[in-house]
Symmetry: C2
Subunit: 335 residues, 2 copies
């Protein structure tokens, strides 16, 4: 679990995953780039299988484990993109998948996971310890636990995002990534060693930012943020250790800036981002004067958001930022 | 203007335009394909420069004319995607562009075109004949008129969409395209000769469908459709003649089906389509049992739509089609 990782592992993972994952496009916008005074590339991982970059790590995990582990099956505790990604990866590779969800998880998430033939186990939040429950179930049934961030399989899978980005736009001077469990940030930092990798967290879920700034792991109380995939209470040791050394900077963004970034992505790129998926672009706007000159890559990490949420957030943002200008046609440009 | 065109012209145009246009992605959705029982590829021309496929024809026109014509400048009558495309093409190639707009055109369209340094001429709709006004202005200033559909430059430029589609997914058995002036349909029919090319029109703007079905040009009264780019009153001779022979079928769709197709594109592919851009997908749903078996390509022709319009149409569609299921995560997959 703490085995050394390097750029070479990410390149190998990219080769392993070829044909299994989507090489998502890097998209630019003439208008947005003009507005911020530099070329901005969006890495559209909302177009990844399962709707988020998480599919890369999930697929890499299933392909990296022994065939015996695959036959016995895997288990993960998450109600979000990691669970959906693992369910889809298992469905495609015929690996039995169990997803541990809280009893009160949205019905629709449960149904999506079940549609992919995964087994859903529920637990009562009040009886606590979802990780303990997951481990117990894993032991009982001989399942391999697939964590959402703190594992080399997951981190190297996530690192393939940056492998593609640097191939698609070799002139990048910086990459911005959202930080939840920190797996994407860690993988990116290990791939993009020559340029600045900047992590972005919601200010309301700044466990990694605080931990990096104070030099030791900080635990925060349950975060309240629209970026639900990034609502961690403390960074795992493995990713924190990598990100402490590997990130050039870590930026935090207020909630309205996240909704604004969703609106930018819709208007200028024609893309549906979930709130967590727009956090890195919010960080770009926030930290513009701290970035090196030159082209910047921004990871749009996922697009799994329902219409009601999307509409409410864009309504608020359009009204606040640009009440008379919301009909400006986008001029999207793809490299 | 009536010179013969062939697949070879489209291939040459594709070579000419390389590096100047975006090779837009072909995107599939596991979930949507399962729902309609066949692989469906969306050709995402909303990601084309200027936000619609019209940029291909506009750019091809400017690159195909003589340098003398380029120096003197060009003119087009349109308030829509063709005008925006021509303004952007002229901006990039330093060709002076004049766009003839009705006095009451939306301010935002006028501003977008002016931002690209194009000259805007307005006219009073009540005094009629925008084509006459355009020709008069062209004669007065020595400008070359660039029509929106009825010209070989425009048709061969539009044909490059299908050149790319057949390279990206050689197993396509049919392609569906929206029909306004019919330039995209004509170009596609000349490229995809071995498979079925199916035109789709709003039922409220079915001038080409009626003309093909009756065998002679039919003029309809001013169409009222949300697909504003397709609201033509009569097909031009040049495109009608090609489409009469080249289209395997022409399908018409009611207005609510267009809004539903916009909702499908948002939910399953995470893409912003303008109403006209979603018409071909609406046609797919409508004509499912008339299509040949096997993979189908659908052209999403443009994405220039304001938030207010987009939101209203999706609200109505979500409420009608799937009131309890709108939060289902998309599982988009890109080839």
């Amino acid at each position: 679990m703490t085995a050394k990782m390097s750029r070479r592992d990410m390149d190998l993972a990219a080769t392993r995953l070829k044909g299994h994952i989507v090489e998502t496009p890097m998209l630019t916008s003439t208008e947005f780039s003009a507005r911020v005074g530099r070329q901005v590339y969006i890495k559209a991982e909302n177009m990844q299988r399962s709707g988020s970059f998480k599919f890369r790590g999930a697929m890499n995990a299933l392909m990296s484990m022994s065939s015996r582990q695959r036959e016995s099956g895997v288990i993960a505790a998450t109600s979000g993109n990691h669970g959906l990604a693992l369910a889809l990866a298992g469905y495609r590779l015929r690996v039995p998948v169990t997803v541990v969800l809280p009893e009160d998880a949205p019905l629709v998430k449960r149904r999506s996971i079940e549609q992919l033939h995964a087994t859903v186990k529920t637990y009562d939040r009040r009886e606590g310890g979802r990780d303990a429950i997951t481990q117990m179930e894993a032991n009982r049934c001989g399942l391999t636990v697939v964590p959402s961030a703190e594992h080399r399989w997951i981190i190297t899978g996530a690192g393939t995002v940056a492998v593609e980005m640097l191939r698609q736009a070799p002139d990048l001077r910086a990459i911005l990534v959202p930080v939840g469990g920190g797996g994407l940030a860690a993988g990116t930092a290990m791939v993009a060693t020559g340029i600045d990798v900047i992590g972005v967290e919601p200010a309301a879920a700044d466990d990694t930012a605080r931990s990096i700034h104070t030099g030791k792991k900080v635990r925060i109380s349950a975060p309240l943020t629209i970026a639900d995939s990034l609502g961690h209470t403390a960074p795992p040791d493995l990713t924190l250790n990598i990100n402490k050394r590997g990130l050039a900077d870590i930026v935090t963004v207020p909630e309205p800036a996240i909704a604004d970034a969703m609106a930018h992505l819709w208007r200028h790129w024609g893309l549906k981002a979930e709130p967590s998926g727009a956090v890195a672009l919010a960080g770009l706007v926030q930290a513009l004067d701290r970035l090196p000159r030159g082209p910047v890559g921004v990871v749009l990490s996922g697009g799994n958001v329902d219409w009601h949420t999307f509409r409410s957030l864009l309504d608020v943002s359009m009204e606040r930022t640009d009440p008379h200008d919301d009909s400006q046609p986008a001029l999207p440009v793809r490299r």
